[in-house]
Symmetry: C2
Subunit: 189 residues, 2 copies
């Protein structure tokens, strides 16, 4: 029953934003989640919007780190794509709240930070496009592949994961990775 830290507040905010959305979460809801009053949160953070920005940026950083690691993997475009896919899955399933908030609540980020969020998303997409284009060059993918459209299809499948995947279900995390990788490889080859 010790005091909450700022970190506790940010994590609880991520949980509620992911679950009910930014506008569906009040500071009093968040306080209740931590066993304190809404007004007490202001000794940890400047405001509600600051919490959203922090959670969203954490999500963005996790995804980008995963993409950077995939691009740095030695091997063909196909090998890098496998790393990208499994990395993305690990981010979504290992940091569900940050991932969902980044993917679904970015529109509630106010103007000042909106650009940064959009830039982060663009950068992540561009990383995948670069990967796909390199893979066209090394023969991993079909020569007429449009990296932009291909990247969108891959990300569409990956970004929908949080909506249906049940970690306690039949399909394990590594099998999931193989299934998605196999499926998109067919479409890219």
């Amino acid at each position: 029953m010790s005091r909450n830290t700022r970190e506790d507040v940010v994590q609880a905010a991520g949980r509620l934003f992911a679950e009910r959305g930014y506008h569906g979460t009040s500071m009093r809801d968040l306080g209740r989640e931590l066993g304190l009053l809404g007004s007490s949160l202001y000794s940890h953070v400047a405001g509600k919007q600051e919490l959203l920005v922090e959670v969203v940026e954490r999500g963005a950083a996790l995804f980008q780190a995963s993409a950077d690691a995939a691009l740095a993997v030695e091997g063909s475009g196909a090998v890098k794509l496998r790393a990208f896919v499994t990395g993305h899955i690990d981010v979504v399933l290992g940091h569900l709240d940050e991932a969902r908030t980044f993917l679904n609540e970015a529109r509630s980020v106010e103007a000042d930070y909106r650009r940064r969020v959009l830039a982060a998303r663009d950068r992540y997409e561009t990383s995948l496009r670069t990967l796909l284009a390199a893979g066209v060059g090394d023969g991993s993918f079909r020569p007429d592949l449009d990296p932009k459209l291909g990247g969108i299809f891959v990300l569409s499948i990956l970004n929908a994961l949080d909506r249906w995947y049940d970690e306690s279900g039949e399909v394990g995390r590594s099998q999931l990775g193989e299934e998605i990788f196999g499926f998109v490889m067919q479409g890219l080859t």
Copy 2:
């Protein structure tokens, strides 16, 4: 400058719910959109939640009608899948507000109607699974295809459309259909 009808109210609600989310839209916002006061809306509808339920159910009905039509198409599983894909695209692009509200705001539907919404989504997914299973039977798809997972992948790509597709861009609607159909066919075959 004539009076607004109930239909105007429902459509404007769909617009705002799709754009800002249910909890991000106030009745006063909605009134402003129509040139009247928030309180005046109550002569057209019983409440805010009623508007959400109506828009969500319209979205559900549009998707289901499209799926039913695809299943009724004569031909192989592949032919039906093409109809399913193009039908889904037409619903998303032709009824963007209802589609987005159905896809993204269902969680804000309160308990009484939540089951109906989830049932509608399940039914739509089941339609696609049935289609895929039939296609396995007639040799359209690979014999070891898991219709459940395959359906999820197809819907993941289709449901992400509203997040990126720009009707005024380079890729036309029919080309989009061919691109998506071609991509998923590779993965299913």
